[in-house]
Symmetry: C2
Subunit: 159 residues, 2 copies
């Protein structure tokens, strides 16, 4: 029965990434330059940030090497408009799609035990002390993170 709870959490993750897919697919290069509020992040930055954070989940979940480590400097280490965007809008959208596809292919193969195992940013010692720092918690946290930025992105829509 634990599989049911896992499936529902994966559905929640896919639901949020799917809403973001749809949102970003409807924006061309120029529209991605819109800021969520005056002086705040461009949609382009949010897409880069979300792609980089999801890409990092691949090694965190022991699902293999990252696909786009080149995004971190621009979209995690620095605030918006500090560095030039390393990819075009079309390339970044493709990266977003590829990263999420790789993640979903990996996590849908996880066993119950895999979900309760540590993610790679926690040492075995720290994990023994706090077993809630597992892959299921990581998925829930990243689902919330994606929802958080979706709420911001939506503000650029005409009322």
């Amino acid at each position: 029965m634990e599989q049911t709870f896992i499936d529902l959490a994966v559905t929640s993750w896919s639901g949020v990434t799917g809403r973001l897919d749809k949102f970003f697919a409807g924006h061309d290069e120029e529209q991605l330059l819109k800021q969520v509020a005056p002086g705040r992040n461009r949609l382009f930055y949010l897409l880069g940030h979300l792609t980089a954070i999801h890409d990092r989940m691949l090694p965190l979940l022991f699902l293999g090497e990252r696909l786009h480590p080149e995004l971190d400097e621009c979209y995690i280490a620095n605030p918006d408009r500090t560095l030039p965007d390393p990819l075009t809008a079309a390339e970044l959208k493709q990266a977003w799609t590829d990263v999420n596809a790789a993640l979903l292919a990996g996590i849908t193969k996880f066993s119950t035990q895999d979900w309760l195992a540590r993610h790679s940013a926690v040492s075995e010692e720290d994990f023994a002390a706090d077993p809630t720092r597992n892959r299921f918690t990581l998925l829930l946290n990243r689902t919330n993170h994606a929802s958080f930025h979706l709420g911001q992105a939506i503000l650029t829509r005409a009322k």
Copy 2:
């Protein structure tokens, strides 16, 4: 073992509502008048909206009567600045605290089977056709909803 997955989802819910608690507690009546972006929702409206949506979860999860049904007209049925706020900031913050406390007290008593049972907005017939429309899904969806608006609220912070 399913209890572990349930506990982690409840922790995720509490984490997001806790971040919102902290955020709103740091804002007085005047600060709550800030809009998340020009012409967009005031923080006051977001607090009212989240309180109303969480209050609705009480009957949805068969946890009893609503505590603040008077909020719906202002914060769900109508956009911001359509109707006068029915409560003061202090009263609304108290309502937010009370509603979340009642919810948490209720859901922490749920059995595994309770979580997989229907919520009250789904008929027994519809639920038989789609058993994913259960209380666990509702919790995950409302956690995402709270994260979505937290992302917006945060935009009012000084950079």
